[in-house]
Symmetry: C3
Subunit: 143 residues, 3 copies
């Protein structure tokens, strides 16, 4: 009986730690998280995306939410130096909204960092970034 | 030995309850859940969205799935009193498909409830609603 | 005391198994998983989708990621026998990218399998497939 007891306790403790780790990692940051995709060559969509990000901060409180905008494919012009929404992109970055450009897209379109807005952040592949953020518990929005 | 036993049991029980609660909350409703986004000023998309919702009910059984359509941004005209899909929206609501309009968008476009279809339901911010539904286990579809 | 011990161990073991099963099923396949939606009648989108799938395989390694492209609604022409991206669809299938057509859409458009690219795979409803893949842990991308 005692041995069964001990084995039971041992198993339960080991498995509980595994389960607890999942729970802990899921609950780790109290922040809500959202990744927003920009993949259209459409300034209306760029403005809608920036409005969405701003609204999320206003509704939830800027400190309570982590927002990342992933820009790739035909959307990449949103982050080019001559972007029609360049000023709004700078404002968003100043408001702690992360905005990243896809290096894969840039390579395909022969764009270098010199062609982009100053202080742009980069990811190797926008689409993989969108996958990994979702895996990390980010909601996905495609305006 | 007895003390180790007791501490082990205690830890295991506490952590098991935490893990069990997660499991229970995830498995709570047997229903499938999906949130569908409408953010385009495009009657073709509105019809596609209403078709999608209807098909989901037909495939899974209307009682087995919870469907919410979130209408915001340039899509808001889908729920205006003069919407070209007004009849279909009423049919969908009668079929227990939830359809909600974004008050943030309405404010930005100077629309009041008097401008909208009768019996429209509202959420403060469509984009936050989409985040929270995903967090609550809803699949996300953007037709 | 012994009975409390036993009940505690019993509860902990039972609940731990439940929790462990969730953990095990989530961690089961080491593979990353992504479902990509095609619902636009837009050859630019079809090419972007096929580029996205290819890039995901290049970045993560084709053996480390499971990719499914779900084609439905106005996007269905991507998989018709006369599709302008027919060759690229065949290449993608040869590279172990799964591509499925929505039978609901085909019925609505009076298309039969004879109208589609050879070796096309089918699902009863594209939109339900997208829901179920998300439920099964696939990230969702709508290019």
């Amino acid at each position: 009986m005692k041995i069964i007891n001990l084995v039971g306790v041992f198993l339960a403790v080991i498995m509980s730690f595994a389960a607890f780790n999942i729970w802990a990692s899921e609950a780790s940051s109290g922040k809500e998280k959202v990744v927003i995709q920009v993949s259209d060559a459409d300034a209306g969509k760029w403005n809608l995306t920036l409005n969405n990000a701003k609204n999320i901060q206003q509704m939830l409180g800027a400190d309570n939410v982590e927002i990342e905008i992933v820009v790739y494919g035909p959307g990449i012009a949103m982050l080019k130096a001559d972007s029609v929404v360049g000023n709004r992109v700078e404002e968003a970055k100043a408001a702690n909204i992360s905005i990243v450009a896809c290096q894969n897209t840039m390579k395909g379109m022969k764009l270098t960092e010199a062609d982009m807005l100053p202080n742009t952040s980069y990811v190797p592949a926008g689409v993989v970034e969108l996958m990994h953020k979702q895996k990390a518990g980010f909601a996905y929005i495609r305006p």
